[in-house]
Symmetry: C2
Subunit: 106 residues, 2 copies
DNA sequence: GGGTAAATATATCAATATTGATATGTGTAA
DNA sequence: TTACACATATCAATATTGATATATTTACCC
């Protein structure tokens, strides 16, 4: 592999991927959303359970969840009046785990 | 490790880390910035070289670079009239490489 | 069934931030 | 002193944010 084989030209495909990746980054760029997703790595949680850990109000949690749901990063399941959220995208799991490894000390 | 040892409570320290991670995510949430950083994984590049691959104008590239520089994610080196940029934060490298692995097919 | 409370969702909105474009400034080489 | 490589200033358009208010869905009790 020669030196000039390094990435110094982006194909349309690569631009597309960069766009998708940037979109995911945008979803993770909010502390509340990031913490929500971080919790969901440990399994599904109800809205109330998620709310307890963020110091924000319920409507805000629901708003962030609605956004993550629209983007396909989480999914919802209803049981009675409780709604449980869980991760729905492997790429999200991958990125969150990597963030945890790089930002959280042992 | 018992089931209830999973993350269902955030310490102040964890909130801090989440904030920092979210800040990095915000920097990566722009396609141009993401592509710039992606190129820089392969080593330092001049502004003109970076510009060639993004379809945006020079001032925009410089603006994004200025932001990344202020945040400490990249560093600049002058040689004559050319300025070479390179990555300055290991966490950025880690995240970018992970993104490449998850988003870019072999 | 009617009424009420719990759990969550949606609507709206003002404040603030981000975006990329245009114009102009700065430093260096020839 | 002209051109090249890059930086900065400014600005209008657009997007994001979290807050408040209200609606929806389900459970429960009478």
């Amino acid at each position: 592999m020669t030196e000039d084989m390094k990435i110094d030209h982006f194909t349309d495909d690569m631009r597309l991927m960069a766009g998708e990746a940037a979109a995911l980054m945008k979803s993770l760029s909010n502390q509340a959303r990031l913490m929500i997703l971080c919790q969901l790595v440990g399994g599904e949680h109800s809205v109330a359970a998620l709310e307890k850990n963020l110091n924000t109000k319920q409507p805000n949690v629901s708003q962030q969840l609605a956004r993550l749901r629209m983007e396909g990063y989480v999914q919802a399941r209803r049981d009675g009046r409780t709604i449980y959220y869980s991760l729905a995208d492997d790429r999200v799991i991958s990125v969150i785990k990597n963030l945890h490894a790089t930002f959280c000390p042992t």
